[in-house]
């Protein structure tokens, strides 16, 4: 994915809110790129432009594949369909055969640990389980790119860690170009191949870091990670 000379502003009662001014960024294929930045710097806007929800003022984002998956802050499941149906709907056109489709649904439900909850409605599940279901949906859909907008933020710490674990396991099995925006440095360190740090509005790239340690071997007290963490923190603080 490549962002080229992007301009975007929003009109607000307080005047024009300039989110991107001549913003460019190149992200690698088949890797997890984490975009880290202060709240309100335009991370979600970037994803929404990539997904085509909102148009840019000028410039744009190139090499966005047609087929996308998106993990939102909320699970965004259809409340009137069962968990299994929520997943099967997005693969209906890709797997026309009913039998094969339901096998695929079961497989992904099992991968996120929801094997016995396919027949439940979303409101019968806990928040963490609903987000698991949305992860299953994102991976079941044969997309070439995955957009993530702080999907673990609304959860408790232990739940968050277990969900991050589920996510990385699934991702290693089926790697796809992933853009993950967050303001949580530790989450970034555990998940990212590349971390790009953005400034406040209008967003500029401050610096970027590559994390080479395999995800399964990472721990937050690893000196290599803490050194990246310190550099990121000082970058963000300098700009406050």
């Amino acid at each position: 994915m490549e962002v080229k000379r992007l301009y975007k502003h929003f009109d607000s009662p307080a005047g024009a809110l300039e989110v991107f001014r001549d913003f460019s960024l190149k992200l690698p294929d088949k890797k997890i790129s984490v975009i880290l930045g202060p709240s309100g710097c335009g991370k979600t806007t970037l994803l929404n432009i990539a997904a085509g929800f909102i148009p840019p003022d000028a410039g744009g984002i190139k090499q966005v594949p047609r087929r996308l998956s998106y993990l939102f802050q909320e699970p965004r499941l259809l409340p009137w369909r069962t968990v299994a149906r929520n997943i099967s709907i997005v693969i209906e056109r890709h797997i026309p055969d009913k039998q094969k489709r339901s096998e695929a649904v079961s497989r992904y439900l099992e991968l996120v640990g929801l094997d016995s909850f396919g027949g439940h409605y979303p409101h019968e599940l806990s928040g963490g389980m609903r987000q698991r279901a949305s992860i299953a949906r994102a991976f079941a859909c044969p997309s070439e790119m995955l957009l993530m907008d702080e999907p673990f933020q609304a959860l408790d710490l232990d739940l968050r860690l277990s969900l991050v674990g589920t996510f990385t396991r699934l991702w290693e099995e089926e790697p796809k170009t992933t853009v993950f925006v967050t303001h949580d440095i530790q989450e970034a360190l555990m998940i990212a191949d590349v971390i790009t740090v953005l400034s406040r509005r209008p967003a500029q790239v401050l610096d970027s870091f590559t994390v080479d340690i395999p995800r399964s071997e990472r721990s937050l007290d690893d000196p290599a990670l803490t050194s990246v963490e310190q550099q990121v923190v000082s970058l963000l603080l300098k700009r406050e």
Binding site: F53, Y70, R76, L77, W80, I89, P122, L147
Partner: protein
Amino acid sequence: MKGFTGFARIPKWTVVLLSSAVLIGIWWIASFFVSDIILPPPGRVLSDFTQFLAQRSFWLSLQATFFRGIESFLISLIIGTAVGIASGSIAAVEALFRPLLSVIKATPVLAVILLAFIWFQTGTVPIFAAVLMAFPVVTQNVMIGVKEIPKELVEMGKVYRFSPKQQFFHITLPSITPFLISGGRSALGLTWKVVVAAEVLTVPRHGIGSGLQFAQINLETSRVLAWTLTAILLSALSELLFDLLSRLIQPYKRKRGAHGS
């Protein structure tokens, strides 16, 4: 406050039963003081009603009114949903229909019935009048429903490339279903009232309204009330069926914001 909470603890159906008994009691006592033409006692009305049940003409009337009502209701539902979805999604369509809907809302039911009687044959009048009065109710509700379709789910559907058909059946329709049900319920209640009123004025061969009209001409007040009871029962029964239906088509408990956190 103590007395109030004590009152609130009485089961609801007991209160309903009690208040019904009081109303009937007042009716019964009042009937002693006036002639049967002004107000017959409840027992008379009930016996007239049970006599009805043995008469073929009663069942024909009930059947005629029932089918007029159902036909009107289905037409209202179809027109109301179509106009509601269109006005909810396109501002220009809403503007186009707004004057018409405002005029209909402000028009007295009887004016519509009388005009329809000038324009159409007897059999068409109740249906035309009922549709004209009831479809705006459906439209209004569906329009609000369409405007309240969760934007989050629409975006989700866009990302996962829902086809127009999937978008309609998995997002639009389920979102507006609660509004469709509440609009449909009000529309059906209104439909029965308008159909019976139109029958009173146009006097088709069979119909609850025709029965009311004949009984009134003959000053058979207890029969007027027995026909009224028939109309009330018809309306209550359809309400009950509506409840059953709505529970049947919404097996999920739709909690507020269930698509969210």
